[in-house]
């Protein structure tokens, strides 16, 4: 994993998110406050604008810059959560001398664990954790079991999709949707949807190389 990889993926994610913007907007209007899509779009734009700055930085510094940009540029739940993800990844030791896919997966899993601490939500509470945690687990196990990278990417894509869909029938107990009680049921969680789209995009880009 390189800084170029980060920027390239951010750009691909931007296209995917933009293409799905109306749906994501609607999801947060139904069970949230309607700002999720704008938060995410603003964040991605800011990350992409970092390209000239982070191009020549070490991986840890680059990730930290991205984390700070996300944290300060997004706001809301997603700013804190995605910011924490990257901030934690930046802190993983020994990442400035090359990051192979095992290392990358560990970084991601550490990040997800920190996000879980930050938001205090676990699987089953109808948040982005319903995507992030199963994907992190699947990837970690895949590494342990020394699975083929491409197979693993395909599994992760499936896992993300399953997690995202699972939020539909869940009762929200964390985040803004929890205020709705029973009325939160029947809608996919917006943060789960954006997380799933981002994960799919990154996995696809690895599959295509």
């Amino acid at each position: 994993m390189s800084n170029d990889f980060l920027i390239k993926n951010a750009k691909e994610i931007q296209v995917v998110i933009d293409n799905n913007a109306p749906e994501i907007e609607k999801l947060d209007q139904e069970i949230g406050d309607g700002d999720h899509i704008f938060n995410v779009q603003r964040g991605i734009k800011l990350v992409i604008e970092l390209e000239p700055i982070i191009k020549h930085l070490s991986m840890s510094k680059a990730l930290n810059q991205i984390a700070m940009k996300i944290l300060s540029g997004i706001g809301g739940s997603s700013g804190a959560l995605f910011g924490t993800l990257f901030m934690t990844m930046a802190k993983v030791s020994n990442i400035d001398n090359g990051v192979d896919y095992k290392k990358a997966i560990n970084m991601f899993a550490d990040g997800v664990e920190a996000v879980k601490q930050r938001g205090k939500a676990d699987v089953g509470e109808k948040t982005m954790m319903d995507v992030l945690i199963p994907v992190a687990n699947c990837l970690k196990q895949g590494v342990e079991k020394k699975k083929d990278l491409k197979d693993l990417m395909r599994e992760a894509i499936e896992e993300a999709e399953k997690g995202m869909i699972s939020t539909k029938d869940l009762l929200a107990t964390k985040g803004r949707a929890s205020f709705l009680g029973e009325r939160s049921k029947g809608h996919i969680d917006p943060g789960a949807r954006t997380s799933q789209l981002m994960i799919r995009t990154v996995c696809m880009s690895i599959l295509n190389t």
Partner: protein, 330 residues
């Protein structure tokens, strides 16, 4: 979407600039990161009170920065919590040596961002979390209840204590008490339009209202047919009175809050209807507040907040305050 704006990107900036210029005797706006502070520096040894939250609830919180209330406010994007850098920068400016008290409404986004700010900053800080919205069921397994209009009551009362020399611990504990003593519930007659979205957050039929609505156009407890004001008032009061376990002869602050698009006449009518019901129950209204204080953009609607009062709270409610949106005794 019909709003006075030039571009949705510049909306917040231009609005803050106007606010800063119109009230330069009281406050100063800072940009990138955005925060609003008093134009006079914090007295040495005074606890600094900082609040913040998504924009779109004006005059909350910027309108409450000034003598006797907040030292700083951090406005996020419309309906998005501010980010930690705003709180950190504001804290650095207004810290007076006695620590910082954050007043935070109970939303995941706000909590996480304020938490990260406290972790990242150097000085001492405490947080009062407001969660007065009785429309939402409370539970320790969930995010719990929303913080809504009582946040302003907390800000006023804690602001007064800080002004009169209260310590960080005392301010935190009084803030928690005011929050515990307060309950709110709202109803929407129309939706609001987030500028970036350009269309209503939700659709209400011509005879429908959203009962128990939040302050971001979030759906409430249920969708009802529009009812006479007295019935609406009674339902709101019932829920709050039950939650606060108010009894005969209890003294309260009756706060009728507009959501932004409802004219004052209607808010005073709700006040009248609420007074009739409270009088009947022998609950004593000894303090009052009516107006658009904790809004949801242009939403038509209103909320009622009751705060159970004692001598201490009354003293701090009555004390002088000098902000853009609330001013008395000075």
């Amino acid at each position: 979407m019909k709003k006075f704006l030039n571009s949705t990107d510049d909306f917040l900036k231009e609005s803050l600039q106007g606010f800063g210029a119109a009230h330069q005797d009281i406050i100063t706006c800072h940009y990138d990161p955005n925060f609003i502070i008093r134009s006079e520096a914090t007295k040495k040894g005074k606890v600094a009170i900082i609040s913040g939250g998504g924009s779109g609830h004006e005059p909350m919180h910027g309108g409450f920065v000034g003598y006797g209330m907040l030292d700083a406010a951090c406005p996020g994007f419309v309906f998005s919590s501010p980010s930690p850098d705003q709180m950190i920068a504001a804290s650095e400016k207004v810290e007076g040596g006695a620590g910082v008290l954050f007043i935070v409404k109970n939303y995941s986004g706000d909590i996480m961002n304020f938490q990260m700010a406290s972790e990242m900053m150097t000085g001492a800080s405490e947080t009062v979390l407001t969660n007065d919205d009785v429309a939402v069921e409370d539970s320790s397994f969930t995010t719990g209840r929303r913080g809504v209009a009582a946040t302003i009551v907390v800000e006023k009362i804690v602001g007064s204590l800080a002004e009169s020399g209260g310590s960080l611990k005392e301010c935190k504990s009084l803030g928690d008490k005011v929050n515990r003593n307060s309950g709110s519930m709202g109803v929407a007659l129309s939706s609001c339009i987030v500028p970036a979205a350009g269309k209503p957050t939700f659709e209400l039929g011509p005879d429908e209202m959203e009962f128990g609505v939040g302050i971001h156009g979030e759906p409430g407890r249920r969708r009802d047919k529009v009812q006479p004001a007295q019935e609406i008032t009674n339902k709101l009061l019932e829920a709050i009175i039950e939650d606060l376990k108010l009894e005969k002869n209890d003294e309260i602050l009756l706060f009728v809050n507009g959501m932004g698009g409802t004219p004052l006449t209607e808010l005073y009518l709700l006040y009248d209807n609420a007074k009739k019901t409270l009088d009947n129950k022998n609950i004593k209204i000894t303090r009052s507040l009516v107006g658009n204080y904790c809004t949801s953009l242009e939403m038509q609607g209103a909320s009622i907040t009751l705060t159970k009062l004692d001598q201490e709270l009354k003293k701090h409610w009555d004390s002088p305050v000098h902000t853009a949106a609330m001013r008395w005794g000075l």
